[in-house]
């Protein structure tokens, strides 16, 4: 493109792409980010992109109707060329995404990266976590086999217990008394429309906030060396992307996605369990009265969401105590115990 053409072009589309590219690519990155642990924020993003791509590919063959959902999943897995691969990527992607988000949160939490002025970004993060779990839940139910059907039934039944709006919300989700045609189409809408869009917007806000605030410095290391986003950090992300794609592809070969039995609304299978990342909820509901369990979960969510502010209040009262270490460790240990316990006892 010569200069004349360039000028003509920019007259018609008066946006300075060069400037934008410069801003994006020249973002200063603190030196500690070279440590891989600090690049975990990019991992969910990369995975999100994978999920979008593979998700779109899956909709090419998936049919969201109770009669055909299971069959079409079976068809994708067993007959479409490389269908098992795409489905495997999508499935493993969702699992890894939950793990990646969790690790990212752990890192942020223990380095107190949410501290003033970045409280809002923490809240955005929590919202993204919830959205992601929502995506996982709705996605799982779309398979429409026995396990996913009953996990959906149980999972949605929980919503009823939410105070005041519970049953309204439940009926909104199910579109009827039981899980059925309407539930499936609603979940499909949520899974491929509303939730990904929400997540996308949240991600943009999250990144914009990160960029506007600048990447947070480690407490006590405020003056470490700075490098540019491009090329170093870009390479970081590229390596992560390649690594993830490799690992997920390999996992697909070793542990290919199954199909299971088709959903049968008249018989509940002997062992039903949610996906592993809901084990902690499953645990609480199993051993506590349902109202108490739901209340606990809600409280935990609220505390997590507003933690930066809560910590401030606590700090004012007990300035010496390192609250984030205590609360973080306790939360992680509890989550691990619940998850491991449920994994072992089956």
């Amino acid at each position: 493109m010569n200069q004349m053409q360039e000028k003509k072009f920019s007259e018609r589309l008066p946006i300075d792409f060069k400037k934008i590219a410069e801003v994006i690519l020249n973002e200063p990155i603190p030196g500690h980010m070279k440590n891989w642990f600090y690049a975990l924020g990019a991992t969910p993003l990369v995975l999100f992109i994978f999920q979008v791509v593979t998700g779109i590919l899956l909709t090419f063959y998936y049919v969201p109707s109770p009669d055909l959902a299971y069959q079409s999943v079976k068809y994708i897995t067993e007959e479409v060329r490389l269908g098992f691969w795409i489905r495997g990527l999508h499935r493993w992607g969702s699992n890894l995404m939950v793990i990646a988000i969790f690790l990212h949160m752990v890192r942020v939490f223990f380095t107190r990266a949410y501290r003033k002025p970045r409280e809002l970004n923490w809240i955005l993060g929590i919202l993204m976590l919830i959205t992601t779990l929502g995506l996982c839940f709705t996605g799982y139910s779309l398979i429409y086999n026995q396990l996913s059907y009953w996990a959906t039934t149980v999972g949605t039944n929980m919503i009823k217990e939410i105070p005041i709006f519970g049953s309204l919300f439940l009926r909104f989700l199910r579109g009827g008394e039981t899980v059925g045609v309407n539930t499936l189409t609603r979940f499909f809408d949520l899974h491929i429309g509303l939730l990904p869009t929400t997540l996308f917007v949240l991600i943009i806000l999250h990144i914009v906030l990160v960029r506007v605030h600048g990447v947070s410095r480690l407490e006590g290391y405020e003056d470490d060396e700075i490098y540019r986003f491009y090329p170093e950090h870009m390479y970081h992300v590229a390596v992560i992307a390649l690594f993830l794609l490799t690992v997920m592809s390999a996992l697909t070969v070793v542990l290919p996605p199954g199909v299971g039995e088709p959903a049968d609304p008249s018989t509940t299978p002997l062992h039903i369990k949610p996906e592993w990342y809901f084990y902690w909820i499953y645990f609480l509901l199993k051993y506590l009265p349902i109202k108490l369990g739901i209340a606990l979960i809600l409280v935990a969510l609220i505390v997590a969401t507003f933690w930066p502010f809560i910590e401030d209040i606590l700090k004012k009262k007990f300035p010496k105590v390192k609250w984030h270490y205590i609360v973080g460790s306790v939360a992680i240990v509890l989550l691990l115990i619940f998850t491991v316990y449920e994994t072992i006892i089956y």
């Binding site: 590919l57 067993e78 479409v80 490389l82």
Partner: protein, 150 residues
């Protein structure tokens, strides 16, 4: 700019080739996924009549897989025609006394071997391959793909 050393050059080539091959394979696999495999249709023969069941010059209505078909004994050979008129998809009927197929919708007329005699149909009736094995008359049909049955 510094002059590239031989080693740097090789490294650059390595990274690019590796990256390109991974990208190409990924895209290729995705393309394979998107474009369904078109395998040659599997054919299967089904029994439709026994020899001697239909007199020469007679036809038999066959209902197969929700399709109306006609088996005609032309004397020296058998033929199977689709009962769907090639004009606008009405069902034709066999008129034995006139040795013809007649479509009531726009008065299309086909001869007993499926050719258009008069009326608007643009082409002869669709035909299925027939095989006579010993005393059995078979018709060849295309195997439906089991994945998408509904």
């Amino acid at each position: 700019m510094e002059k590239e050393t031989r080693r740097e050059f090789l490294e650059k080539i390595f990274v690019r080739v590796a990256g390109l091959s991974a990208l190409a394979l990924t895209l290729l696999n995705i393309a394979k996924y998107i474009y369904p495999k078109i395998s040659p249709p599997k054919l299967r023969k089904v029994l439709i009549a026994k020899e001697g069941e239909i007199a020469p010059g007679e036809a038999k209505e066959i209902n197969f897989g929700g399709e109306l078909l006609f088996l005609v004994n032309l004397g020296k050979e058998y033929k199977v025609f689709s009962g769907t008129c090639t004009h606008l998809g009405c069902k034709v009927r066999w008129e034995g006394h006139k040795q013809r197929f007649f479509c009531p919708c726009h008065k299309g007329i086909f001869s007993s071997d499926g050719k258009v005699i008069s009326g608007p149909p643009p082409r002869p009736l669709d035909e299925f391959k027939v095989e006579v094995d010993r005393e059995f008359v078979y018709m060849w049909i295309e195997e439906k793909q089991s994945g998408r049955t509904i």
